[in-house]
Symmetry: D2
Subunit: 143 residues, 4 copies
């Protein structure tokens, strides 16, 4: 399958549609059915002890699979997150950015399923894994 958006087009989309959070994310690499996104960890993402908060990791997983989906289907169809299951496995490295490696496992007309592994930059062992599901509104109902 062909990509319908480039990394640069995803970047512009993110800046325009999600201005509150767009600057947190660096879109590092894009391929067919997959993307790598980095969370620029800052004060707002931290919990006592220097660990990255659960909601920040959830947001990273969600953005990653969402953008990988848009890259495949184009920006006109606004996917809606319908479900997430996430396991927190290790404490993130203090002071390190987080990297999400996301892939799409099913790209249906109605449902999209993806999964994500998150690790601290420079550390191989994953800190979290997530699976995400999205619903695609019927054509003509989007936006």
């Amino acid at each position: 399958m062909e990509l319908k958006m480039t990394l640069e087009e995803l970047r512009v989309f993110l800046d325009r549609e999600f201005p509150q959070v767009a600057e947190d994310f660096v879109l590092e690499d894009l391929g067919e059915m997959r993307i790598r996104v980095r969370l620029r960890v800052n004060e707002r993402h931290l919990r006592p002890g220097g660990t990255v908060s659960g909601p920040s990791m959830f947001a990273l997983a969600d953005v990653s699979v969402y953008l990988a989906t848009l890259a495949m289907i184009g920006p006109q169809a606004l996917a809606v997150t319908t479900g997430c299951s996430i396991d927190f496995m290790r404490k993130p490295q203090a002071g390190a950015d987080l990297i999400a490696e996301a892939r799409i496992l099913k790209l249906g007309r109605v449902l999209v399923v993806g999964d994500v592994l998150i690790h601290s930059r420079g550390v191989e062992a994953p800190v979290a894994r997530a699976s995400m599901t999205y619903s695609i509104p019927p054509a003509g109902q989007a936006g």
Copy 2:
């Protein structure tokens, strides 16, 4: 089972341990194995279209079961979130706070499991459901 902390003590704990987010949450009602928490929805929680973001709902579910757990076991044992599964079912009401009704289903020595229903204030139909799991570190290892 007896509660080991009051709503007021949970409030003080939240303000001290999670100052970045404490003001977002209103602890409304506490009982044995359950709590009701309100998310004061503001700009930071919103997505385009006025809907509350997924990470904000995740944070509400997590805080709720976490505090219900602390109320039962006391503040010395710092529970760690190990897993979450969440279904987003409806669009939250624009401009309305979110209410989480959380209950603990299992309070083990090592593992805690709870679930949460979230609805918009004044609307009965739930916008999300979540189940949360926590690991309790062995006594003597906590913070």
Copy 3:
């Protein structure tokens, strides 16, 4: 909302469509958006030590929300299970049947979400909780 099927009609449907497993389940009580189903525990469901197997509990949760959905939308639309998240919390009572209390949290045109609490007959503390999601095929595409 009105029920489109009675307990007796669900029973006939189950016997006809799922003859391999139908006799395992007793449909005990049906209401709007909810059902209670009992698993007749026998040799086939057991693991060493007399505990009921995980797959048997999964099957009970799945059948319960599935039937509660059919009761609301009628038998013509064949729902497909798209996701399940389940927490196993306690060891079931040896020799006791399992009871599932299922409710539907969202009955959409395309997606259905329900949750289930399972306990051993005669014991209040739940042995498992599950949330189930189903996709409803567009009218005209069913079976």
Copy 4:
């Protein structure tokens, strides 16, 4: 890390501990933190239309991560399944066995997390994905 059990030892363990279901599973390949297991699909696993049942796929995912865990920690510590989240993505190929590729993402002293991709033999696109969590009883309490 070194494997503490061979494929042959896992085979013997499965036959002895789970005689009711052992013959359903072929242990195909074992490595550090991963295993490949095949479900020999037969009448008992099927639903109307020739599709493999959800509980059968759950059982395959559970057995796979369980055996991969035992291979790493040895047979003395009996892991207990505490949670599962599963997405059903495609209809399995009629008449084809199912292959599970499982890997362990976290092997802690207390908690184990693994994930699994399941596909029909000879078809690359996955029919299901699952994540599984296990609790390891403290040494001395097992069996």
